[in-house]
Amino acid sequence: MKRQTVCEDWEKDLILYYYGDCSVEEQERVETHLKGCPSCSSFLTDLRTLLPLTVESEEPPQAFWESYSREMRKKLGEVKQSGAWWKGFPGFLHPWPVPAMATALILLLAVTLTFSKGWWRSQNLPPEEEVLLEILPMAENLEFFRAMDFLDSMDFLEALEGQRIRSETNKQVL
């Protein structure tokens, strides 16, 4: 048999009414509606029959609770003991020491690299090779400078040629 359909607008209110989760005014409003609505009354009866059936009444014996408390005391004791060594550790991971330590490390690295650069070089290379090492990058750029000189010469020649043509044209006009 198909069960009666509850008024859709009242369904939520009826559930809250069943659990006693509505205000006095809402309660009165629901009760007034129930008087004139058999389908909503039937819905409420269903809730009163069905919902208590879903509750599991699990009642373990007294011995269970005694053993529960005993186990809990033991576990709590172990947590406190094992917790002793790591308790200070989370404090170390507070937000401020991490960036502070990272900054210090970067500074230390920068200082070490800056000051050790000259030291390592003077330790490993003779002075003449050191001079060579400084000249080498300039020598690598020599080709570039030569090309630049060539382009400058081309410009100069073109300018001379232009000047020559202009003077010849002026002579012809005169």
């Binding site: 809250l16 659990y19 879903t54 509750v55 699990e58 917790g83």
Partner: protein, 194 residues
Amino acid sequence: MQTNRPAELGDDELVALAQRGEREAFELLVERYKQKAYRIAFNFTHDREEAKDLSQEAFLRAFIHLKGFNLRASFYTWFYRILVNLCLDYRRRRGRIAWQPLDDKAEKAANGSEMTGATSSPDRDAMAEEIWRKVGLALDALPSKQRTAFILRNHQGLSITEIANVMRTAEGTVKAHLHRAVVALRQRLEEVLE
């Protein structure tokens, strides 16, 4: 000078003592909430040993993180939140649960089935078992948020406000979850009502 016995102290006072390192104060909180905690876990697991382990684990986690607990909130709401999250994790790991009626549950269901007209004891037991299995499956089929709201309201009697605090959601959302859960259960258990 007024001196209270520890057992008479309120939750906040016990929490404050436990935060200062007095383990006995926390043990009193365990004594105060162990039955409720166990029953909530049992509602999710339907297994006595699992319910015991989960509720004890929740107490241990509460104890470990107690120093981070803000006394402006209520201890049991905070503790229930830990417990419910553990239970939901358990459900995610375990999947569906085999619903076998315990003796007292079968009896309770049998009382509910008296309206069906069953008279003989073996028939009644079989029917009770069947009802309980259907109830279990219907509960199991609910989405986790609906099931949580339903268990906390229907089984544990928490108020809508308390459930909203435990589930960290709005009261309107809890009402909506509860509404959907009840409607779904009524639909799935229609034959139990006939």
